[in-house]
């Protein structure tokens, strides 16, 4: 049995929004990420997926919970101990226009992590490493002295990836890395991420709202809704046999680029909008929009449990849905 690289246990991240109110962005989620895999985290805006990603690598201080990395609870580490662990964690951001300092040449942007962790002995070593990284992501030496505005969106995302790779990390949180790019460029970046993963044995947490892309890149996928994890399974299983009513609705809402299939599909159209995450009620978070909701769903939060092998669901009626008793 392979040991997980990262174990997330019941993490919570609350934000105080004033007047005694609390925004529960992430409200107790648990899962494991195994070495070399891509774990996809999906959900609609405001479901807490980005906050979860940032809290896991402690960019946000957690409200509660534990995250184990190499057997060590990183939430217990002091600031200097955390700096040591930080080398192994990196992040790639959504907006390649906002995440690169416009006043820095590319060489300094990519070398910044090296500077911070004093990871070179000479200027030559620093420069060689930058050039090596540029080549890895499909850019070249001449790009080193240019500034971010001279690059297209796809190229900027490549620079962001080169920076993330600088310290040979083990784990990379990719927060919507392709959402701001055109489709033809998205494919370039996704292919690059896959190649790098193969070459360096990287582990990804891939956060996105584009479910078709997440299915394509991820080995396992978790679905979040209003700060809770609703369902978790392998990519194939989640998309072919979703159990949670929310996952079912979410998947049926994605339009398939094939008119014949798309127009003959049975679709579940959800009513209403995602409710507010400020002081949510202690019940199933999806209850108001769920077509299978019962009184029990309004009374207690369903437990996130393994309903069949490697397939976790938080729904009181998961067994009935699985048996096909309700649909």
């Amino acid at each position: 049995m392979v040991e997980p690289l990262i174990s997330v246990r019941n993490i919570k991240k609350y934000f105080d929004v004033g007047k005694g109110k609390t925004l529960k962005a992430v409200d107790g989620i648990s899962f494991d990420i195994y070495p070399g895999e891509t774990f996809g985290l999906v959900g609609e805006s405001g479901c807490g997926k980005s906050t979860a990603g940032r809290t896991i690598i402690r960019l946000y201080e957690p409200t509660d919970g534990e995250v184990y990395f190499n057997g060590e609870n990183i939430y217990k580490l002091s600031r200097s101990e955390m700096n040591r662990v930080r080398r192994d964690f990196q992040m790639i951001f959504q907006d390649p226009y906002a995440s690169l300092n416009p006043r820095m040449p590319v060489e300094d942007i990519i070398a910044e992590p090296l500077d911070i962790h004093k990871a070179y002995k000479s200027q030559k070593e620093r420069r060689d490493r930058v050039i090596e990284l540029l080549k890895l992501v499909g850019l070249n030496e001449e790009h080193a002295q240019r500034f971010p505005h001279e690059f297209s969106g796809g190229q900027r995302q490549r620079i962001g990836i080169a920076r993330a790779l600088a310290l040979n990390p083990k784990f990379i949180v990719c927060d919507e890395p392709i959402s701001a790019l055109d489709v033809s460029i998205q494919a370039q970046i996704v292919n690059l991420l896959k190649e790098l993963q193969k070459d360096f044995g990287l582990t990804y947490l891939f956060i996105a709202h584009d479910l078709s892309m997440v299915r394509y890149i991820s080995d396992r996928v978790g679905v979040m809704y209003l700060g809770h994890m609703m369902e978790l399974a392998t990519s194939e299983e989640l998309y072919s046999e979703p159990i949670h009513p929310y996952t079912q609705a979410l998947l049926s809402a994605i339009p398939i680029p094939d008119p014949e299939i798309q127009r003959n599909r049975q679709r579940i159209i959800l009513e209403g909008d995602v409710p507010s995450p400020i002081d949510p009620k202690e019940n199933c978070r999806f209850v108001d929009r769920c077509r299978f909701a019962t009184d029990r769903c309004r009374m207690e939060i369903p437990e996130f449990r393994e309903i069949k092998k490697d397939h976790f669901v938080a729904c009181h009626r998961a067994e009935e849905i699985l048996k096909g008793n309700i649909s």
Partner: protein, 330 residues
Amino acid sequence: MEVKDLAVSFQTYFGEVEAVRGVSFYVDRGETVALVGESGCGKSVTANSIMQLLPVPPAFYKRGQIFFEGEDLLQKSEKEMQKIRGNKISMIFQDPMTSLNPTMKVGKQIVEGIIKHQKLSKDEAKKKAIEMLDLVAVPQPEKRVNQYPHEFSGGMRQRVMIALAMVSNPELLIADEPTTALDVTVQAQILDLMKQIQRKYGTSIILITHDLGVVADMSDRVIVMYGGMLMEEGTSYEIFKNPKHPYTRKLLDSVPRLDMDRSESLHSIAGTPPDLYKPPKGCPFFERCDEAMVICKDHMPEKEYHTDTHYSLCWLNHPMAKGATEGSGI
């Protein structure tokens, strides 16, 4: 509605940007036509030209005509256009927050639109505004009509935009990325709503989007644009099932599908779209095309018809190029 050989450029500090370079298409009553392409392909400029929403200068119309009910919109004065905009032709935009007035109650904004084009009293107009909100399925319309845009969620705001666009029962609705800013479940609601409204009123829709799934869901015909030009046009089935232009094929291959095998690799298109300061003389896709031939560099192909409704602009489809097969490119 018919667009004939439309060319629009922008005068900038660095010179002329030829955003749209000779585009022709038509939209029939009650049908949905999708304009598809990547950022900068000219799809939004084309749509904004129909409404004449481009600032002149820096924009200028180089040539072409836009016929709507037999009259050329490009020849109309601003005053005449105001009678058409929001009345016979309406538009909805990607971001409903920036296209609604944040300081004005939603109801008042709809009432303004009604009074501008219809002879109704204020009370009648308000009643109509409530009816419109009800039509687009905004719950509790009597209460919502007195609220401000910030009190609405993204999906609800887009419903308000649609209500606003539909008040005068337009012949043509231009939807510029109407669901791009929305979550998928909300997107499904909005697309559903647009279809219902179209069925009810027989509105023609020009749908501008980069999301091929939305295109497959909504459109009768599809127009693929690249580098300010049309590359291919056909019915939805023809474009998705039998694409004839290498760009269309590449575009379709570069999106992952829910029903595809995960071990299949995603086809990316190397490079980036052409610079429209100095647009290429030949086919704009030449630089990124695997199947390019010598002729493609300097000569733009003519329309080649595959069926009555399906044409493409590619030298590979020229009758004399029958011998050309994949891999024979340069």
